[in-house]
């Protein structure tokens, strides 16, 4: 499984998925993430962001859903039926919505657990721990506290650090800003951006806060009621009036747009 920078690392085609036997959650999603990119997945509550990310990591069946049509390819292979632990060992690691730290385990135990999936050795675990602590110095101070007792931002850092312990090539994050103060969110995005630039870590981030997503991502895909309705460079989308009005709550940009408004509910 090798791809060069700029090649497609993840490709989702016409994906459809249902929940609980019949509730349609995705009804046609196309998405491509190239090696080395940061792609934001924007959309309102219930648009299908979480379902899509879970489908990609094959976590859907564990939560009562399943893929009914379409294709998910990672590093050139069809992975719709590949077990999550196999995906993790091949570098596709997710950070779940709502952080999902192991609350009764200490911060450090959470991080170590993140290295167990790929079978890291003792020395490697130590080196990886030091790397995570260097990225998130606050975690080093809180390392022996139960993760359930640290702040929301620290829990998010723990969840991200735990995923990093698995040596991801593609890190999939579901709403890392949820419930966090803007300052903390900025810190987290700054660190993720730095990892992207220095280590070439590819990121796919679902984000309800579209302004935030457009500020940090290279490209953005917009989901609406289970469909991908729009895709483009973050820099272009930022200046589009329909995006500014519907998602950013701003007035039109200086130039007058000739594009018709997007068919969507607000």
């Amino acid at each position: 499984m090798t791809t060069a920078p700029g090649e497609d690392l993840l490709r989702v085609e016409a994906l459809e998925a249902i929940y609980g036997g019949g509730i349609r959650a995705l009804s046609g999603v196309d998405l491509t993430v190239r090696e080395g990119e940061i792609v934001a997945l924007a959309g309102s509550n219930g648009a299908g962001k979480t379902t899509l990310l879970r489908a990609i990591a094959n976590l859907l069946t564990a939560t009562g859903g399943r893929i009914t049509a379409g294709r998910v390819a990672y590093a050139g292979r069809d992975v719709a039926r590949t077990r999550t632990d196999v995906l993790v060992r091949n570098g596709l690691v997710s950070v779940l919505e709502g952080r999902h730290c192991f609350r009764s385990l200490t911060v450090e135990e959470n991080l170590i657990a993140g290295g167990l999936g790929r079978g890291s050795g003792r020395a490697e675990l130590q080196a990886d721990l030091q790397r995570v602590y260097a990225l998130f110095p606050r975690l080093a101070q809180k390392r022996s506290l139960p993760a359930g007792l640290v702040s929301g931002g620290e829990q998010q850092m723990t969840a991200i650090g735990r995923a990093l312990m698995g040596h991801p090539r593609l890190l999939v994050l579901d709403e890392p800003s949820m419930g966090l103060a803007p300052l903390v969110t900025d810190e987290i995005y700054r660190i993720l951006g730095a990892l992207n630039r220095s280590d070439g870590l590819t990121l796919l981030v679902a984000e309800q806060n579209v302004a935030l997503a457009l500020r940090h991502a290279h490209r953005c895909v917009v989901l609406e009621t289970g469909r991908s309705i729009l895709e483009g460079l973050a820099a272009d989308l930022r200046t589009r009036d329909d995006i500014r009005q519907v998602y950013l709550g701003l007035g039109p940009a200086q130039r007058v747009s000739k594009r018709p408004p997007l068919p969507m509910e607000v």
Binding site: A57, L59, T61, A62, T63, G64, T84, D85, L87, V88, R89, V93, S94, V95, L96, H100, C101, F102, R103, S104, L105, E109, N110, I112, A113, G114, L116, G117, R118, P146, A147, G148, L149, S151, A159, R162, A163, M165, G166
Partner: protein, 297 residues
């Protein structure tokens, strides 16, 4: 010591020591419940199966250690087989389905035990002589002391295992948040297998101790009924809770039997633990030490 007091202490100590053995059965439940949310009703049948296998092997003329190792191997296979054949295909099913499945498994195991080893009652002699020891006027059963020591050792080993090994860490992670454990690539089926093996081993130890005390017979599988109030009291997901509740139930049973029994007419031992468990359910539904999630206020 005043004879009234020393009699009281004797009752309490005897109760506590048998409580340790209740705790041992309860821990078998906790292990599985914590990691997979299954209340394994077959735990009692596993206890019976282990004891019966061991006794029969000894009666065949196998030396004690060889019989122990062989039974251990059998219990590992039984634990793995149940997990693989019954629970894994039912993963993500509602808890009641899983519970019913283990109920079925309980009777299948009992039936299989009957088929393979026959129905007669066996005596099991672990070679512990049961003359009481005296500590300052208090008589304590030597066998109860031995059983409590073995059970205590078992608990200590399990605790060390969960605290200091990778498998133990993975176990705690799965118990804490299965979806998160899945998302970081932990292999849940592997952990479930490990847990079923562990509960098979716990069943073996419990089976030998209970078998030696009560005789190896089919009523041995009813020790689950002793473990249930312990689980309710301690919380289904807490090993420490199982130990504390086991001690409480053991002591309470004996005290009630001795001091309340004469007024009500005896036989309290059988049901007093359920009364305590019911009372506690009303006050604290998650049990004494059951999981209250770790949360900031």
């Amino acid at each position: 010591m005043n004879p009234e007091l020393s009699f009281f202490v004797e009752v309490v100590v005897g109760g506590l020591l048998s409580g340790v053995m209740y705790a041992l059965v309860a821990i078998g439940f906790v292990l599985i419940y914590k990691t997979s949310g299954v209340l394994n009703f077959a735990q009692g049948a596993m206890v019976l199966f282990a004891a019966l296998t061991f006794v029969s092997l000894v009666e065949w003329g196998l030396p004690f250690p060889a019989a122990l190792i062989a039974t251990l191997a059998v219990m590992v296979v039984v634990g793995l087989a149940v997990e693989r054949a019954v629970l894994r295909p039912l993963v993500n099913q509602p808890p009641i389905t899983l519970f019913m499945a283990t109920l079925g498994v309980a009777y299948v195991i009992e039936g299989a035990a009957q088929l393979v080893w026959g129905t007669q009652v066996h005596g099991l002699d672990l070679g512990i002589d049961d003359t009481p020891l005296e500590f300052g006027g208090v008589l304590v059963s030597r066998f109860d002391l031995f059983a409590a020591a073995v059970a205590g050792l078992m608990v200590a080993l399990l605790t060390l295992f969960f605290r200091y090994t990778r498998t133990g860490l993975a176990f705690r992670a799965v118990a804490d948040d299965p979806l998160a454990a899945l998302s970081i690539g932990l292999r849940l089926p592997r952990i479930w297998s490990a847990v079923w093996i562990a509960s098979g081993i716990v069943a073996l130890v419990a089976g030998l101790l209970w078998g030696a005390r009560l005789g190896v017979q089919f009523s041995l599988s009813l020790v689950v009924l002793k473990a249930l109030p312990v689980l309710v009291l301690g919380g289904f997901d807490s090993i420490a809770g199982a130990i504390v509740a086991g001690l409480i139930v053991g002591a309470a049973e004996k005290l009630a039997e001795v001091y309340l029994g004469p007024f009500i007419g005896g036989g309290i031992e059988g049901w007093i633990a359920y009364v305590a468990a019911l009372a506690l359910l009303l006050i604290r539904p998650s049990g004494l030490l059951g999981q209250r999630s770790v949360e900031r206020a």
